[in-house]
């Protein structure tokens, strides 16, 4: 039984109906008390009579009221009660958070609540009597009647279209994600179906956002994974127990393990057996004082592959604080190739040293052993010439002269070739060299040549002091100035040396007023034994400029010339102001 509701109305009604009867009862009670007092001779005061009457009356009224409660209601009262109940149900239905739609056996909507109005945007009157399909997307309407009759044939409370995404359609045509619970209600005129509709818009939206976030996180994770995996360094991360918590492809490849095989293993699996024991304490020590550093600096580190091969490695350690505690990331670089390259380099250096030593030996042989027989040829021919002086005829004397001259030339060739080879091999000693003093010295060395040519003059502008190998610089200027004096026509030879700063190099020039060089020989003049003139006119072995070029290049400079045949030549060469390193290895 439902009670409450119009309590006030009801008690008013009861009171109005029973008031006359109550008054009668009171009068009757007072009469009874008075009669009893006459019969017993008890003479109470009228006040007592009245009070007793009222008490008795109240008791009777209470009895009467109790009796009335068990009295069947009248039809009118029953209607009232039912109306109240319906009102209550409507209130409950209307305030329910779920949208409720009841459909009659014909498929028409016979009940909707406020939630339905809110959800679908229709008013109640627009929906009542309409086919329930009005609430479905157009695409789903066709099949719905069949679903509905199928449901009615075996009606059980269940969730509609389980596993599928259901959508309703609002008045404006918007699609609304929903979940629908179906409850059959049997009535004499057929089965009604109550649909409880839950709006999934927010849940779906939340799901979508969650999915999006998850996807973003997954994408980020994938990106990092890709970065980690494509890193050329092998990366291995361990937790504080020394277990491998992350490993990239490079690390798996380096150590020869399958995909994921290393995860969860102790990191010592990657170390040679002999150092595994010590490594545990090293590792614990590192975790107690975690700071990025290179492992075992100055020592040769080795890892061990699954196949048991030792791999020379370099390891950088980086502590990383993670939600599940401190981890250490090891970036491992495979030094196999580097070591191999170092070995190859060392071998090549050794090879070079050997071949240099051989060249040295050759140079020595050339200077001594080749010169020796030539000296004999020359000296004894001269001795013969001297001894036989008087008995020699003109022709024989000429032939002997050829022998001497040939030997002489050969001696010069050998010593020039030797100088050329020395210019390439000799170690550079870079000390400050005053180029003005060099020029003075060169003029002294060339004094004979200068004196041979009347009016010959060598001049120079103030020259810088720079780090170079003095003996080589002397030879350089001796060759260039000597050439300037040598390759001359009939004019008195003039050679001038000047120098200017060009950026971080000095540009030197040696200018003469000689016969000049045709530009088409620009490349040839710097080659060994290349001569442009017949020996009788301009003697020489043709090696001077080759030596000059070598000296300039060894000092980090370049050499070239500009010339107009008949109008002299200027040789230019550069030398760096700040030579790299104090020493550099021989070529």
């Amino acid at each position: 039984m439902l009670r409450g509701g119009n309590k006030k109305n009801r008690s008013e009604r009861v009171l109005t109906k029973s008031l006359p009867m109550l008054m009668g009862v009171i009068v009757f009670a007072v009469f009874l008390v008075w009669s009893w007092s006459l019969y017993t001779g008890w003479a109470p005061s009228p006040m007592v009579v009245l009070t007793t009457g009222v008490i008795v009356c109240t008791c009777l009224a209470a009895i009467a009221y109790r009796a009335k409660r068990f009295r069947p209601e009248s039809d009118q009262e029953r209607v009232h009660t039912l109306e109240a109940a319906v009102e209550r149900y409507r209130n409950v239905i209307d305030t329910a958070p779920s949208a409720l739609v009841m459909v009659d056996p014909k498929g028409s909507i016979c009940l909707v609540n406020r939630a339905v109005e809110r959800l679908f945007g229709y008013s109640r009157t627009e929906l009542l009597g309409e086919p329930v399909e009005i609430l479905l997307p157009e695409a789903a309407r066709g099949h719905h009647a069949a679903y509905r009759s199928h449901y009615v044939s075996d009606p059980k409370p269940r969730i509609m279209g389980q596993g599928r995404d259901l959508h309703g359609r609002s008045k404006t045509g918007a699609s609304i994600p929903i979940e629908v619970g179906l409850t059959p209600i049997r009535m004499p005129n057929g089965t009604y179906v109550l649909s409880a509709i839950v709006d999934l818009t927010f849940r779906k939206q939340a799901e979508r956002e969650l999915a999006k976030k998850t996807a973003e996180i997954e994408a980020a994770e994938k990106r990092y994974r890709a970065v980690v995996d494509t890193s050329p360094s092998a990366l291995v991360m361990i937790n504080s127990d020394g277990k491998i918590s992350l490993v990239n492809q490079a690390a798996e490849q380096l150590f020869g393990y399958e995909d994921g095989e290393l995860l969860g293993q102790e990191v010592e699996i990657l170390l040679p057996k002999s150092i595994r024991g010590n490594h545990v304490s090293f590792r614990n020590h590192f975790f107690s004082q975690p700071e990025p550093r290179v492992m075992g600096q100055g020592r040769d580190l080795y890892g061990i592959s699954k196949q048991g091969d030792e791999i020379p490695i370099e390891v950088g350690l980086t502590p990383i604080e993670m939600p599940d505690g401190l981890h250490v990331l090891s970036a491992i670089i495979d030094l196999t190739h580097r070591k191999q390259a170092q070995r190859t380099l060392a071998e090549q250096a050794e090879e070079l040293r050997r071949s240099n030593a051989e060249l040295e030996q050759f140079a020595y042989v050339a200077s001594h052993d080749l010169q020796e027989p030539l000296r004999m040829v020359r000296s004894y021919t001269e001795l013969l010439e001297q001894k036989l002086q008087d008995s020699l005829d003109e022709k024989t004397r000429k032939y002997m002269h050829y022998v001497i001259e040939g030997a002489e030339r050969m001696q010069r060739l050998i010593s020039d070739l030797l100088a050329f080879s020395r210019a390439g091999r000799r170690e550079l000693e870079r000390d400050p060299v005053d180029f003005n003093k060099v020029l003075s010295h060169v003029v002294t060395l060339l004094r004979a040549t200068i004196e041979e040519r009347p009016g010959a003059k060598v001049t120079w502008d103030p020259l810088p002091v720079l780090c170079a190998t003095e003996s080589m610089v002397v030879q350089l200027f001796q060759n260039l100035v000597g050439n300037g004096l040598k390759f001359q026509g009939d004019e008195p030879p003039r050679v001038h040396v000047s120098c200017e700063a060009k950026g971080d190099t000095w540009l030197f020039s040696v200018t003469d007023n000689g016969i000049g060089i045709d530009q088409k020989y620009a490349d040839r003049v710097f080659l060994v034994f290349q001569r442009l003139h017949e020996r009788s006119r301009y003697p020489g072995t043709g090696i001077g400029l080759a030596i000059t070029k070598r000296i300039v290049e060894r000092h980090g400079g370049e050499i070239w010339f500009e010339s107009q045949p008949g109008h002299g030549t200027t040789f230019f060469f550069t030398l760096p102001m700040h030579p790299k390193g104090q020493k550099d290895p021989p070529i």
Binding site: S367, H368, R375, M376, R378, E382, L383, Q411, S415
Partner: protein, 147 residues
């Protein structure tokens, strides 16, 4: 300058007979009387200096002309032995060689050679060098008197 009554005794350590002859030739014209004793390798040089074997009667030379590249024991070794032997170290050793190598020059002086001469190319120069040696070592320089 001291006037000598006896000739200068020269030990020439030289394996090349042609050079020996050339040196003999150039010293023949010397104004200072000298005697040239020739040995053809390092071992014989030391035997001569120590008066061993065939050289028991040899005199101690006043000066040694030493070639560097010799068979068996080369000039550097002879130089090292002479300059570390108290009986011999006072004898001036003139290295006379065709080697122009800077290393040889330095090494010889480090071994206390008294001078280093490169055998000149050409007879004229050869004679000149011989003259210069004579002038300096037999004339200008004063040599120790043998004990």
């Amino acid at each position: 300058m001291t006037k000598r009554v006896r000739p200068i005794e020269i030990l020439l350590v030289e394996d090349n007979p042609a050079d020996v002859d050339l040196i003999l030739e150039s010293f023949e014209e010397s104004t200072t009387p000298s005697r040239l004793h020739t040995v053809s390798n390092g071992e014989l040089a030391l035997q001569f200096l120590n008066r061993e074997g065939d050289y028991a009667e040899a005199v101690q030379p006043d000066i040694i002309l030493l070639d560097l590249n010799l068979p068996r024991m080369d000039g550097r070794d002879v130089l090292a032995v002479v300059k570390s032997d108290p009986q011999l170290m006072h004898i001036p050793v003139l290295v006379l060689t065709s080697s122009e190598a800077e290393k040889d020059v330095r090494d010889c002086y480090q071994l206390h050679a008294n001078c280093y001469i490169i055998k000149p190319a050409g007879l004229k120069h050869f004679y000149q060098v011989a003259r210069t040696i004579e002038d300096f070592w037999f004339g200008v320089a004063v040599l120790p008197v043998p004990p």
